[in-house]
């Protein structure tokens, strides 16, 4: 049986919101029993993607969902913006490619940290990035 619950819906309008996203995601990770390493990976990915939403997407929302599939728990983060979109996703997912003066690891880094990664973008309409993190991989 699969159940999906949306726990939080956060706005990303200014820099301090990135910190709010990190804190909220940390609380969720702790509450579902993620190990310290799992928590850190999740929060770091959230930070990268929230910054992307703010800087590239001109702001948007972050949704924190909890999915349960018979016994296993997935924390899913969905970042949505109505910004300019990503013209070349292939290029945006390349290490070191940056359009905002970062290290160019926002998207590709988040993809590497996550267990599941999904990207939808339409030029001129916006971008949706979804990442899933499973708990307790070491204990399976």
């Amino acid at each position: 049986m699969t159940s999906v619950v949306t726990l939080h819906e956060l706005r990303i309008r200014e820099e301090i919101d990135i910190v709010h996203v990190r804190q909220t995601v940390r609380e969720v990770a702790v509450s579902v029993g993620f190990s310290l390493v799992e928590q850190t990976k999740l929060v770091t990915a959230a930070s990268e993607l929230a910054r992307n939403t703010l800087k590239h997407g001109r702001g948007g929302t972050a949704q924190v969902e909890l999915e349960k599939h018979d016994g296993s728990t997935v924390v899913r983060l969905v970042f949505r913006d109505e910004g300019p979109g990503i013209p070349d996703t292939e290029l945006a997912l390349t290490d070191g490619y940056s359009s905002a003066g970062g290290l160019g690891l926002g998207l590709s880094g988040a993809r590497r940290l996550a267990d599941e990664f999904d990207l939808h973008t339409t030029p001129g309409e916006g971008t949706t990035v979804s990442v899933g993190f499973r708990a307790g991989r070491a204990a399976t």
Partner: protein
């Protein structure tokens, strides 16, 4: 929200970063440090990150830039006390920060600057 302190230990600056750092805080820290090092002709900067729960690519870039800037001012930057989970995540992100000096403890970090500096 974040508490960043800068202490002068002889000719080394000890920077302690704690809590949640916004991107703005990070940039401000970078600028402060460059000004400080130039003004006091410091030999080095120790950045104690043991209180940081995450280091994302923006913060990693800031640390890297601080090191590069202090080097131009003839000083050395050493990152001290990074937590295991933060180190694992950075490596997973693909950020191995080559060339950045690191140390386990503040005492080890001070030793990197050779004689003339003693831990308090």
């Amino acid at each position: 929200m974040s508490a960043t302190s800068v202490i002068e230990m002889g000719d080394v600056l000890l920077v302690t970063v704690q809590g949640e750092l916004t991107d703005h805080d990070a940039v401000a820290l970078q600028q402060d440090l460059a000004a400080n090092v130039a003004e006091r002709s410091s030999r080095g900067v120790l950045i104690d990150v043991s209180g940081m729960e995450i280091v994302d690519s923006f913060l990693a870039r800031t640390l890297h830039d601080i090191a590069a800037a202090t080097e131009l001012l003839a000083a050395k930057t050493v990152i001290v006390g990074m937590r295991p989970e933060v180190a694992i995540t950075l490596v997973e992100l693909g950020l191995t920060l080559p060339g950045l000096a690191t140390a386990l403890t503040v005492a080890d970090g001070l030793a990197e600057f050779g004689d003339g500096v003693r831990p308090l």
